[in-house]
């Protein structure tokens, strides 16, 4: 079950303080990177919610993010909604789509689930890529940023936007943590361990999976809205399965099923990517090798590794009752 261990709380506080402090001192490019990290963090929290806790390893989260980004941009530009209603609409659309995908894929497990989500993600990608309404390969520009001038915040300023994005990460984290502690979250974790038993206990498995996937999809859609607001330009590449693959990489890099770890992973991934790509155009290969090394090491990512080390230092719980037959 999901709990906030002291280590996790410490890591969260450090991340919050660190990112906010950096937001106040960083230069322009630092703020861009901070916003990039924040958007990726939202996506990977969403992914960890279903993949890490529910065992639903999705390769369509990039597509869900992209749907959010496109829905937001189209709602704001073509339909003329202001930013916040457009965000609500986009998040709802991502959630609805995720619910349908989750419901259809609920019967598939393991690699079948991965393949099925990959297929749905590519379907969305092809649709957007092909559709002239969405600007095809060239994409769409002009996604607005929310207008917070009423409370004295100008989100067109990079610093304000970075802080706004960090606040959204916090919101995402709270939603994810609350979900994990709700009845649905408990069921989701149970499903990961033993789907058959939960069904025998009376759980409508497909609905639980679809609902959890919808919540995750909503968060991915939120990440999409922020991505659109951040670059103010979107293209079908956002929906590509490689974005989902990269998100999965980040979750693994940080620590699957820890909710905090993926945030750490997002920080590491973005910083690493910028550092390495400054050195060589072949940075993909280096990222690939790091990924292989992390997975081969069998540690649960960077944060998972730290957690395991800390747990190893604590004394093991002792059996309170003698076993008649071990």
């Amino acid at each position: 079950m999901f709990t906030h261990t002291p280590l996790r709380l410490t890591a969260l506080s450090l991340l919050a303080i660190g990112s906010l402090a950096y937001a106040f001192v960083a230069g322009f490019f630092g703020l861009e990177i901070l916003a990039e990290i924040a958007i990726l963090a939202i996506l990977v929290i969403a992914l960890d919610l279903v993949a890490g806790f529910g065992g639903m390893v999705s390769l369509c989260h990039g597509a869900l993010l992209g749907v959010g980004a496109y829905a937001f941009t189209v709602a704001a530009n073509a339909a003329g909604l202001s930013a916040f209603p457009a965000m609500v609409l986009a998040v709802a659309l991502s959630a609805g789509l995720a619910f349908v995908i989750g419901a259809i894929c609920a019967r598939s497990i393991g690699i079948y689930f991965i393949m099925a989500t990959l297929a749905f993600g590519q379907m969305a990608y092809s649709f957007v890529f092909q559709s002239p309404l969405f600007g095809g390969d060239d994409g769409l520009s002009g996604a607005p940023r929310p207008d917070l001038s009423a409370i004295g915040i100008d989100l067109t300023d990079s610093r304000a936007f970075a802080i706004y994005a960090i606040a959204m990460v916090a919101l995402t984290y709270l939603v994810a943590a609350a979900t994990l502690r709700s009845g649905l979250g408990r069921s989701l974790i149970g499903l990961h361990h033993n789907e058959k038993r939960l069904r025998a206990l009376g759980l409508t498995v497909w609905r639980a999976k679809a609902t959890a996937f919808a919540i995750s999809g909503a968060l991915a859609g939120l990440a999409g809205c922020l991505a659109a607001q951040h670059t103010q330009y979107i293209s079908p590449g956002l929906l590509s399965w490689t974005v989902s693959g990269e998100a999965l990489v980040v979750v693994i890099l940080g620590g699957l099923g820890t909710l905090v770890g993926p945030i750490v992973g997002a920080v590491l991934f973005v910083v690493l990517k910028h550092e390495i790509s400054a050195l060589t155009p072949y940075w993909h290969a280096i990222v690939g090798m790091i990924l292989i090394a992390v997975v081969m090491s069998r540690a649960n990512g960077v944060f998972g590794f730290v957690e395991a080390r800390m747990a190893a230092r604590k004394p093991k719980p002792v059996l309170q009752k003698a076993d008649a037959d071990a």
Partner: protein, 247 residues
């Protein structure tokens, strides 16, 4: 309370359940006996809906549930334990019971509150833990306890749904004689209005808890009656003891 009519199921040429008709009254304790491969677990799987029968029907508390799915039947008060432990391995014993209670109470899809900390779930967990003798171990992770304790939890999870009918598939399989006896003490202490159907291997213990006995052989009911009659039945001895000695 639980009734089957002419239940039949075959896998290709092999009949695993052949015209099985059973009727359990409320509060009845019935033991199903039969050699390996007699179709006992297959019958359970059909009762809870994990397998669909080829023909025949299943009735729970007067309602035809043959077309209902596993989860729907569970919500009507049908619960089961498995011959092979089917637990939530990463969680603690308390969380296992809590999760079962949560789902059974229909809170498994809830979004707003933490059911594990709700009074009702906590109360159920406490009661069931007492019933299956796990009260002091609630905080132990499942993967850190012995096999015998896991067997107890297996039944505990089934009980945590507060069922009307519970099906137990060899609850003492693989545990030693001492623990097995303790288990039967627990079974006898269950509330009298709970209908219990048990697959059991150990004849003596079976006769100890059973109100009635059903014997299956090659998917067919070959005996259905009181334990004392079963004890005297030559047919039963031939089939059951023959197979028993072979094993």
């Amino acid at each position: 309370m639980l009734e089957t009519r002419n239940l039949t199921k075959s896998f290709g040429p092999i009949h695993v359940t052949k015209g099985v008709s059973l009727k359990l009254e409320k509060g009845e304790r019935r033991v199903i006996l039969g050699p390996n491969g007699a179709g006992k677990t297959t019958l359970f799987n059909q009762l809870v809906g994990e397998l669909t029968p080829d023909s025949g029907s299943i009735h729970l508390d007067g309602a035809d549930v043959t077309a209902l799915r596993v989860a729907d039947r569970a919500r009507l008060g049908l619960s089961r334990s498995y011959q092979k432990n089917t637990l939530f391995d990463g969680l603690t014993i308390g969380e296992n019971l809590g999760l079962a209670a949560t789902v059974a109470m229909g809170k498994g899809q809830g979004l707003w509150r933490d059911p594990l900390h709700s009074a009702e779930v906590k109360e159920t967990v406490r009661e069931v833990a007492a019933q299956v003798d796990l009260a002091p171990l609630l905080d132990m992770p499942v993967n850190a306890v012995s096999y015998g304790i896991r067997r107890q939890l297996e039944v505990g999870i089934a009980l945590a749904t507060r069922p009307k009918v519970i099906l137990m598939d060899e609850p003492t399989s693989g545990v030693g004689p001492e623990m097995s006896k303790g288990f039967h003490r627990l079974l006898k202490a269950l509330p009298r209005d709970l209908t219990v159907l048990i697959i059991e291997h150990d004849m003596d213990l079976a006769f100890d808890v059973a109100d009635t006995i059903t014997v299956l052989n090659y998917g067919e009911v070959v005996f259905d009656g009181l334990p004392e009659h079963a004890r005297e039945s030559q047919l039963l001895k031939d089939i059951y003891l023959g197979a028993w000695e072979d094993a």
